[in-house]
């Protein structure tokens, strides 16, 4: 039962990443692209968690945590760059 649910969830997350990629390529404004990248990070975290469940290991959760942190810092840095023209003033 869990295997079937995992397969369906893998497919859903994969489709979500593709949709985000379309928005990333199409997005009329840089802010749309930043938002698409942020959502891609969210989906990638979900993918890492699913891999952890499928392989019966808790080792991957540190990777997911680091990914969440890096994604947050990246998004804030991009927005900062758009707002001020510089990341660290």
């Amino acid at each position: 039962m869990i295997e079937l649910a995992l397969t369906i969830t893998y497919a859903a997350v994969g489709v979500s990443l593709l949709l985000n990629l379309v928005r990333l390529a199409r997005g009329p404004d840089p802010t749309d692209r930043i938002l698409a990248l942020d959502t891609m990070v969210i989906n990638a975290i979900a993918l890492i968690m699913l891999l952890g469940i499928a392989q019966h290991t808790t080792l991957l959760f540190e990777a997911a945590m680091l990914f969440a942190m890096v994604g947050f810092v990246t998004t804030v840095a991009f927005c900062r760059f758009l707002l001020r023209g510089d990341v660290i003033e």
Partner: protein, 129 residues
């Protein structure tokens, strides 16, 4: 054991549904301010369900209680409003049409991110560099 498996499967399916809904909304909604609202479902409900599924899975089936997932949930819940605020602010500064359609701010002083301070020097703390 069967109940735990059913709970994990149901949580995974809920999470996948909300992740998909967030991304479809990101693609389909008409402008950035509405698009901003779709991925929050993916962040809170989608990731939340997947993380709770993982907690239940490792606690009930593998017999290991791990709290890393709760840490990730806490971090995402703390940072999601900050990123949404930053993206909206960047959008307001880049898009004049949206900035002009904003309702007047309470107090008559204008929007803090767009307009100047109406009474410079009224606040006691020193202003930034």
């Amino acid at each position: 054991m069967l109940i735990a498996e059913a709970v994990v499967a149901a949580l995974l399916l809920t999470g996948s549904f909300f992740l998909l809904v967030g991304s479809v909304g990101l693609l389909k909604l008409p402008d950035l301010m509405t698009r901003l609202h779709a991925p929050t479902k993916a962040t809170t409900l989608g990731i939340g369900s997947v993380l709770i599924a993982s907690v239940v899975y490792f606690a009930a089936i593998e017999g290991r209680v791990s709290i890393h997932e709760l840490l990730i949930t806490l971090f995402l819940f703390l940072t999601a409003p900050v990123t949404a605020h930053m993206v909206a602010k960047a959008h307001l500064h880049r898009d004049r049409a949206t900035a002009e359609r904003l309702p007047p701010a309470a107090g008559g002083g204008g929007w803090a991110t767009l307009d100047d301070d109406p009474e410079p020097g009224a606040r006691s703390e020193p202003s930034g560099p």
